[in-house]
Symmetry: C2
């Protein structure tokens, strides 16, 4: 270094004393649990002591609380550590789903949280925040939170779950993979400690999903990890308005734009569409022309469409309780391993949903006049989950498909196509509360929680279509904010937003094809009844699956 | 199925005859190579026959041709198959880098290609397309192409590379992981055949990166896989204009917006910035305040900033030739495994770059008056690589950082922040050709190649800042397309675009802070000389690394 000696000398003083602080600290901590381990396997009864030994106050801890599965043996154990010894943890958790996740804060074991979704616990999160018991770093989408594990939320310890481990510490995560691979990779490759609860330790795994080289501690849980059937909708509860909306989507969106590949958000609206494909869709001659490739969890309501030859492939974020045998019997459709069972993967399915599909469609609870929408309602900090990752036009996409090109309205040679982002909602929700509002509840909630921006789930400028029981607003075709607002008002019924609609303007929008009412696209309101559903009950779904689908107990009401 | 019997009966006829066609076909093909295998290990001399046995005409084949590493034993073997027997393959390849990739088309073994980048072969791709020898599905970004493997480009056979395998077929991909995990996962979990060339078969791997459960055939290559040092820039070639631009970026972008986490594209512009941090950046007191977390490959020019304590973490897409020992010695900074060596991963690093960083900065070759840019020039179909994934504002992001919020210009409660997308370019490229042009060459190239839209690399509406040797255009602050054009013209020198600038308008833009010239942000042009670089040669970089960095031969000119 002839040329910069003085600079180099000066720099010596800025250089860290050690480049291996994380590795050394991990070795020190692992040493302390050595007596309770046999290889990578920790004795179950030592879990609380082990957590007290490998976790230090102030640590960043990832707790696997996914959309569906929960490392609940580890979360139930973590609340038992000595709260005088372990304090002020920074909890990173994609879904705050279980009561003990928040008990950690009440006990002072944890202080700060970065998360993505808090559906079942959203009321309590808001309360603890107000009481100063809990501090929020930020609310993310799922994959955004994992991305930060690789940048500025590098963890010290991660607590995850798998179905089985072998004696060496190799893991079989089973059909419901979800987030385990990315959490473990972020930790294993930056000298964090990887602790895995497994349902069972076995001699030989059906397949290895995560290699032992990435795992530090395996512990057999007291019972199988908790998992929720979040993607199951009983067809019995699908209403005729949802069927009408579904028919409009099939004709006015999927057929119109030749949608081949798509993600369905969860809800009765999308369940209705899935159950209309083999009936209404078939009557329109659309099989093989639309809805061939899906990026979504294995919705039971998709079974009739699969059995009818509509669906060519399904890639999934996670599995769904009761669907495992059905999936195993349909390897041409699902992404199954050599052992026969599903491999899901949230990061890769999000990648598929973001860059490779024509359309996202999802229901929302509340929408303002600019088509901004949110599931945040007063007093609840529900978070975002994965919808925003699907519910936007990915500007990093460069390949064309018929649907993507069909949304290109600008004739400039420098214009690009667009992903379909379709939002469905009924103009009034249960109890007669308008779903279209002047101002989202989220604005007030965000202010009250001290958030730097409003917690909007899907931004209006990302939405291409809004479908209500009244009709379809083709927002992507509108020119300027005013026309956009008028188009939305035209399908907003007699809600506060809908009352802004003027009949003459609406007629003009229908003439221009910016708004379509059912009759404009050949959808007959009278046809919209439950006889049109390919399955009308859980029992029907089981029958369609040839008995392979096994609904969880709470759905077995027939 | 009481309710829908007739429908169900009708559906029976639409139902596929078999749900296991892919699995059965894989079993059949694997059977045919059984005689040449010992476990998962194929005898090297049988590779051509094996490829002829497991590949069928018309198959979709993924060839691992990454940005850096190449499964070249397999590509060299594939061109040797009997072209009468194997024809019309559909090749899926992220980077068309090697001559034999295109020989496949000349021989008729392959017919159609879906790819992301064709830098070294871009001229020949264009020629073969014109000659009708090759058909292009689409040109993608890297992760977009992988996403399609999970949706509508499901492969039949994938050909990838790794450093080592053990006798069971477990893989050590080594520091340069790049795309191997996602390609293998997409294939292994949809009954495609996974063939891996390895440099070496060993008894025990340093660590397992990909489990044997995901691998079908391992073959020891005749020589180690090819890998290019794409991210190495010799500081000797950094010019004073690049230093000036770098100073402006540090003051006018990074310091101004408090950029903490970022991705640097490759090029001398960003190399200059990296080498200015420990000198110019230090003199401004910015250490610890900006540029703490990086998502990028291990650029050798980042060594001085790391050694000076600027950099807290680096997550990488791949490794870089010669950097492995240095990385191994700096585990606090890089993402290394338990064995000590780097784990990189393009999909995860793209995730980090998309959702977790404040800024992307990259150089471009050509820009139009709307800030659209492309590296496509006449007669070449270069493709996109990864830049578009970094070079846009990710609408799926929901957390805030100071930089992200600082780009929020709309006071509405429903407005969001924005990622910094910074493009650098000199107003004239070598040979006096203007870099700012009225119309991108890409428009003509796209037309000629029959592409449905113009192959634009980064769209102007995604760009927040443009930095030239003249100054900075803060495009995100502009209101309306006209002001945007004026701001760009103000930094476009005497190029055709720059000649549209009017002095009075430019003065007003400077007053409003929409354009800044060096003197407006305290950057002294006279200070911009090579003495300011922390390293001025490869030798300097080696010295900074304490001898750990070992440049490839072609860079060892001292």
């Amino acid at each position: 270094m002839k040329t910069n000696l003085s600079l180099s000398e000066q720099t010596q003083q800025q250089r860290p004393v050690s480049w291996t602080t994380r590795r050394d600290e991990k070795a020190r901590r692992m040493q302390s649990v050595e007596p309770w381990m046999k290889g990578p396997v920790l004795a179950q009864e030592k879990i609380v002591e082990a957590l007290e030994s490998v976790i230090a106050s102030g640590d960043r801890i990832v707790m696997e609380g996914d959309n569906q599965k929960q490392a609940d043996f580890l979360s139930r154990s973590l609340v038992q550590v000595n709260a005088k010894k372990i304090r002020d943890l920074h909890l990173i958790i994609s879904s705050i789903s279980r009561p003990e996740h928040l008990t950690l804060f009440e006990l002072g074991i944890a202080k700060k949280v970065d998360f993505a979704f808090a559906g079942p616990q959203s009321l309590r999160v808001a309360q603890l925040l107000e009481d100063g018991v809990l501090e929020i770093g930020a609310i993310h989408t799922y994959v955004e939170l994992y991305a930060r594990l690789l940048v500025n939320l590098v963890p010290n310890v991660v607590l995850v779950c798998a179905e089985q481990a072998d004696q060496e510490g190799n893991l079989f995560t089973g059909p419901n993979t979800e987030d385990t691979p990315v959490i473990v990779e972020a930790a294993a490759f930056h000298d964090a400690i990887v602790i895995v609860q497994v349902n069972q330790i076995v001699d030989k795994l059906p397949r290895v999903d995560i290699p032992a080289s990435w795992v530090d501690i395996v512990v057999e849980a007291d019972k199988p990890f908790a998992v929720e059937p979040l993607f199951t909708r009983d067809p019995r509860h699908i209403t005729e308005l949802q069927i009408l909306t579904g028919m409009m989507v099939i004709r006015g969106v999927y057929e119109r734009h030749q949608v081949q590949s798509l993600n369905h958000g969860i809800g009765f609206d999308t369940a209705a569409i899935e159950l209309l494909l083999p009936t209404y869709g078939e009557s329109l001659g659309l099989r093989g022309k639309i809805c061939r490739h899906f990026a979504l969890n294995p919705h039971p309501t998709l079974i009739p469409a699969i059995e009818s030859g509509w669906v060519q492939s399904v890639h999934s974020f996670g599995s769904e309780v009761g669907m495992d045998d059905y999936i195993r019997a349909r390897p041409d459709i699902f992404f199954n391993g050599r052992d026969g069972s599903l491999r899901s993967n949230r990061v890769l399915c999000q990648l598929a949903g973001q860059y490779a599909v024509d359309a996202f469609i999802g229901a929302t609870l509340q929408m303002d006049g600019d088509a901004n929408s949110s599931t945040v309602t007063t007093g609840r900090l529900a978070g975002f989950g994965g919808a925003p990752n699907m519910g936007h036009d990915p500007h990093g996409r460069r390949h064309s498909t018929p649907a993507w090109l069909d949304l290109k309205t600008n004739p400039s040679p420098n214009a690009r196509g667009r992903k379909l982002v379709v939002q469905t909602l009924e103009t009034f929700s249960k109890g007669g509360v308008p779903a279209f509002v002047e101002t989202l509840d989220a604005v007030e909630v965000g202010k009250k929680a001290g958030m730097p921006i409003t917690p909007i789930m899907i931004y209006g400028d990302d939405v291409s279509h809004v479908v209500t029981e009244e009709g379809i607003a083709y927002l992507y075709k509108t020119e300027g904010i005013e026309e956009r607002r008028r188009a939305l008002a035209a399908v907003a019924g007699i809600s506060p937003v809908g009352l802004n609609a003027k009949p003459a303007e609406t007629a003009e929008l229908r003439r221009k094809g910016i708004v379509a009412y059912p009759e404009d696209i050949g959808v007959q309101r009278l046809q919209a009844n439950r006889a049109l559903l390919a399955a009308r009950s859980m029992e029907d779904l089981v029958a369609w699956s040839g008995g392979l689908y096994q609904p969880p107990a709470k759905f077995r009401s027939w």
